[in-house]
């Protein structure tokens, strides 16, 4: 570990409390460290500061400097420097910590400012909270309650604006609710690098709009909905579907690429309603791609497998497992693992391979990296397979070695975890030559040709860990139960390991991790329960020579070696 550079600390005073913060920290963040809330709308920690909402107005003072000694005047009574309070309030978001800065966040002037801004924001607001999706997670609603007057002095006609403007395929704008904070504009410009949003018209008639002929359709458009402090930008998918306070939040990991964006999965009674990003400053900040938000639809997909089968005939899970065990025990087995499996599943698969002396392979899944939060490696957990030793080298695009082995008769049984072998270079004729055991959540050509099919869970229905491109081990949790009759994946694999004479391994993650930590060197001394919610960064040096396909994304730079190999 390299020690972080020591920040230049300065002591500032907020509401009478001293706090040392790095020089330049803005007052909002400094106050947050003290547990003091300074309400704000337009400020976002990951976007540029514009200071337009004026909700974070605070009183600011600096020590009065004696020009004679060039040092602050001391107050004789307290020994503390005499503070020169500015007559006008200042915005906290653009006020940075400097030596001796004094801030008042709860003076009569500050309270009056907040009351004023709240009143202004509400006079042309439709106040349609009862039908607004944002209700329950709306800053305007919260701050109006905390800082507003509680009654209106406005007797004029409110401005009327469009209520449902589609800005793109996934985002709908309710213009009347917009408080013109410009977070969405700044996000599109600064993070998504797709500068399509802007304001048109002036004053209170200002309106958010897309540039003529453009749409808000980039793969990050839904982040604008997340950061909208009010109910102006709504997700067309989630709009009017569910009250947010009914939803249970589960911490997840976006499985669509090796970035491993942290997510929150919002569900109720076993149904997922939406997926939003979870802040992780080392990985995805507060963002995620739109494509990762709809993945929950795979749970209810038409091709979802829910019942085990043998030779195409539905059967009981026990029968299918027994049958698979027999096939494996017969020997001449090849195992095709998955970069989409959790690290724990990969470990069990490795145990299975060891017990059978079977060959192992992983199928690569490479797409275009977008430089933001989608990497070129569309498998979320290739590094888990490397760490557990399931594979010694990077995944392959075509299973040519396996094809040769099948043709030569060396392999008689193939176990595949979710992968469609025909897509990975095997012909149906080759599949017909072997007994295929298919473990996967969805039907495909391989499952159709399989001798034994055992359905598995999607990432939303189980617990586990992925290791992302940074070699950061990240936990995901079960948000909803799997379909009736589908066994836990770790139990399924554990059964097969034991059936072929391997060790008995627990499907309880805490117990399993004791084995993992003991047996897998890179994971030594890690306990599952203590994995931080922001992940645990492992030492990547053992794999530094591998030519990983990832290019630069947010918070990730490929190592020089692999970068050169990619060039």
């Amino acid at each position: 570990m390299i020690a972080p550079p020591k920040p230049d600390l300065v002591t500032i005073n907020i509401d009478g409390k001293d706090i040392a913060v790095p020089k330049g920290t803005n007052v909002l963040e400094a106050a947050r460290l003290l547990g003091i809330e300074i309400p704000h709308y337009c400020y976002h920690p990951k976007l540029s500061v514009v200071g337009n909402c004026r909700m974070c107005l605070v009183e600011m003072g600096l020590p009065t400097v004696d020009p004679g000694i060039k040092a602050p005047f001391g107050d004789a009574a307290t020994g503390k420097p005499k503070i020169n309070w500015m007559p006008r309030p200042q915005i906290g978001c653009a006020t940075n910590a400097s030596l001796g800065l004094h801030i008042r966040t709860n003076s009569p002037m500050v309270r009056e400012c907040r009351e004023g801004v709240t009143e202004f924001l509400l006079i042309n607001h439709p106040l349609d909270c009862p039908i607004c999706d944002q209700a329950g997670e709306c800053k305007l609603q919260e701050f109006s309650t905390s800082y507003g007057r509680g009654y209106s002095r406005f007797v004029e006609q409110k401005n009327v604006k469009p209520k449902r403007t589609p800005l793109g395929p996934r985002v709908t704008l309710d213009d009347e609710r917009c408080i013109l904070c410009s977070r969405c504009i700044r996000f599109s410009n600064e993070v998504a690098k797709d500068d399509v949003l802007g304001f048109i018209d002036r004053g209170s008639y200002s309106t958010l709009a897309c540039y003529p002929g453009k749409k808000l359709e980039n793969n990050y458009s839904l982040n604008t909905v997340d950061i909208c402090p009010v109910g102006a930008l709504t997700s067309t998918d989630f709009r009017f579907q569910m009250r947010v306070w009914f939803l249970k939040q589960t911490a997840g990991i976006d499985p669509e690429s090796s970035v491993g964006a942290n997510t929150v999965i919002w569900s109720r009674e076993g149904v997922i309603y939406r997926i939003t990003p979870r802040r992780n400053d080392e990985v995805n900040d507060t963002w995620m791609a739109d494509s990762g938000r709809v993945l929950y639809q795979q749970i209810m997909a038409a091709d979802r497998l829910t019942a085990p089968s043998i030779s195409g005939t539905a059967t009981a899970t026990e029968m299918a497992l027994k049958s698979a065990g027999h096939l494996l025990k017969a020997g001449s087995v090849a195992i095709v693992g998955s970069g989409r499996s959790s690290l724990e599943e990969q470990f069990l698969l490795k145990k299975l391979a060891d017990a059978l002396r079977a060959s192992t392979a992983l199928v690569s899944r490479v797409g275009r990296g977008d430089g933001i939060l989608i990497s070129a490696d569309r498998n979320p957990n290739v590094r888990g397979a490397l760490a557990t030793g399931l594979i010694p080298a990077l995944p392959v695009q075509k299973l040519t070695a396996l094809a040769t082995a099948i043709d030569s008769g060396k392999v008689k049984t193939v176990l595949t975890v979710g992968e469609d072998l025909t897509a990975a270079g095997l012909s149906t004729a080759q599949l017909a030559k072997v007994a295929v055991i298919y473990l996967g959540p969805h039907r495909n050509t391989t499952s159709d040709a399989a001798k034994v099919v055992i359905p598995t869970l999607t990432v939303f229905e189980k617990n586990g860990t992925f290791m992302n491109q940074q070699f950061r081990l990240q936990k995901f949790a079960k948000a909803v139960p799997g379909p009736a009759g589908v066994a836990d994946d770790l139990a399924t694999l554990g059964y097969l390991v034991a059936a072929v004479g391997g060790p008995t391994l627990s499907s309880d993650l805490n117990i399993l991790w004791a084995t993992l930590a003991a047996e897998v060197k890179p994971l030594a001394a890690i306990t599952y329960a203590n994995l931080p919610s922001t992940g645990l960064l492992l030492d990547p040096t053992p794999w530094a020579a591998l030519p990983f396909v990832e290019r630069e994304t947010l918070h990730f730079k490929p190592a020089a070696v692999s970068g050169a190999a990619n060039a």
Binding site: V49, V50, G51, N52, C53, R54, M55, L57, P87, R88, P89, I91, A94, E112, C113, G116, V117, E119, F120, L121, I123, N124, R153, F154, V155, E156, Q157, N159, I179, L180, G198, F199, D201, R202, G203, S204, Y205, S206
Partner: protein, 446 residues
């Protein structure tokens, strides 16, 4: 013809018969002589002259010009820009337009001296969109000056070069705010920037150090270098030096523009002696002394001001000298020099409704208090003039205005709140609601 009390520096040739805006005429009147002398001197000396002159900005805020220049970040290694603020849009103000229309070379000479003094290689004249004629005249004048080697590369054989470009605005009042102007010049919406950190002297146009000066201010620079800073400082009154142009409009017999030594004429002298007093049968009721953003003065009110020695003096509105400091001490400002006069025929609610409509229309909409407050005030006064006044409207108006002033990104907040605050405070009777509160003369209008 200039009035006898006037002293014309900037407007010396405005409306002079036979004076034309072309270079030949300007040269005949000694034009570019000051520039020729200026480029023979050291730039720092010129900056020093301006500092000594005590010149204060004529755009509205009255910020000391020499001090503004001294704030420039000259060590950044970045180019320094000069922006000429020719976005004259303050209601009641019409001075810069005359300079540009009738004496454009005076401005260009001022620009070139300023650029030379501050090592500026590129100057922009940001001209109000509604001044197409002015833009045309300036374009022609710059071409002439360039052909005669007064601007462009290697001026007057000195090795120093500077280009001037004219950029037309698109018709928004907020573009007169210097950081809004910069945004507009960069091709963006003219949303004023937050200060800190975006002080133009450090992070201005294209994030480079930038001077933004008003047209009239830059013309004064020419005269300062001509006369010498110290000699110039003797014109006018201490801390309120030089001359300034006052644009008088409204209910006087002789409205128009006049140039006086700053502080050497009182409001009463201006309106009664120079402008011929009120219209027949009328009495002065109120006057806005520095453009519509300035707080209104009510005839009949008095101000007790402190003298330097600690004693006090009492001034009636007519006694107020038209300088920056006294007007500020009286709670208003010299602003842009637009003097708007109202006589007893004016219904103050209607007058305020007019001003409020302007500010609501011109609020850029960036920050909450001004965006929402200006329109709210417009709606209230609009309702009042259409017979819907309520007893508490005056209080409400004042409270709304108080919630805007001092809490916005730019000075537009004060500009739009000031009229309401002062109208309601001084003409409260008319804001009490109901027809009885309105002066009889205006009832016919309702």
């Amino acid at each position: 013809m200039p009035a006898p009390a006037e002293r014309r520096l900037i407007f010396a040739h405005i409306d002079e018969p036979g004076y034309t805006p072309d270079l030949a005429c300007y040269l005949r009147h000694g034009g570019y002589g000051v520039l020729q002398r200026a480029v023979a001197r050291k730039p720092e000396e010129l900056c020093d002259e301006v500092k000594k002159s005590g010149l204060r900005g004529r755009g509205g805020a009255g910020f000391p010009c020499g001090f503004k220049w001294s704030l420039l970040d000259r060590k950044s290694g970045k180019p320094i820009y000069l922006i000429v603020n020719a976005d004259e849009s303050e209601p009641g103000t019409f001075k810069d337009r005359y300079i540009m229309h009738q004496d454009p070379h005076q401005l260009i000479e001022g620009i070139m001296i300023t650029c030379f003094a501050n090592n500026v290689k590129l100057a922009y004249i940001y001209i109000r969109g509604e001044f197409p004629q002015g833009a045309k005249i300036l374009g022609k004048a710059i071409a002439e000056a360039r052909a005669a080697n007064f601007c462009g590369p290697n001026i007057l054989g000195t090795g120093y070069g500077c280009e001037i470009y004219v950029h037309r605005g698109a018709g928004a009042y907020i573009c007169g705010e210097e950081t809004g102007l910069i945004e507009s010049l960069e091709g963006k919406r003219p949303y004023p920037r937050i200060k800190p950190p975006y002080f133009p002297a450090v992070l201005g146009l294209y994030q480079c150090p930038t001077i933004v000066n008003n047209v009239e201010t830059l013309c004064h620079v020419k005269h300062i270098v001509d006369l010498g800073g110290e000699a110039y400082a003797k014109i006018g009154t201490p801390n309120n030096t030089g001359t300034r142009i006052l644009c008088v409009s409204g209910h006087v017999k002789k409205p128009g523009f006049y140039e006086f030594e700053v502080g050497r004429i009182t409001l009463g002298q201006l309106l009664h002696e120079v402008c011929g007093g009120p219209l027949p049968g009328r009495k002065f009721k109120a006057v806005i002394p520095g453009g519509s953003s300035a707080k209104i003065l009510k005839f009949g009110e008095t101000f007790t001001l402190k003298n330097k020695d600690g004693s006090t003096r009492t001034l009636a509105v007519e006694d107020i000298p038209m300088d920056f400091d006294t007007l500020a001490a009286c709670g208003t400002m010299g602003g842009s020099g637009g003097v708007i006069v109202m006589d007893d025929s004016v219904n103050m609610v209607e007058a305020l409704a007019n001003i409020n409509a302007f500010y609501a229309h011109e609020s850029c909409g960036q920050c909450t208090p001004c965006r929402e407050g200006s329109l709210w005030m417009k709606k209230i006064t609009g309702r009042m003039v259409h017979g819907g006044a309520r007893p508490n409207d005056g209080e409400l108006l004042k409270s709304v205005a108080d919630q805007i002033a001092g809490r916005t990104i730019c000075a537009f907040g004060e500009a739009c709140a000031g009229p309401t605050q002062s109208f309601v405070a001084k003409f409260g009777d008319e804001f009490k609601g109901g027809p009885a509160a309105m002066p009889a003369s205006s009832l016919e209008l309702v």
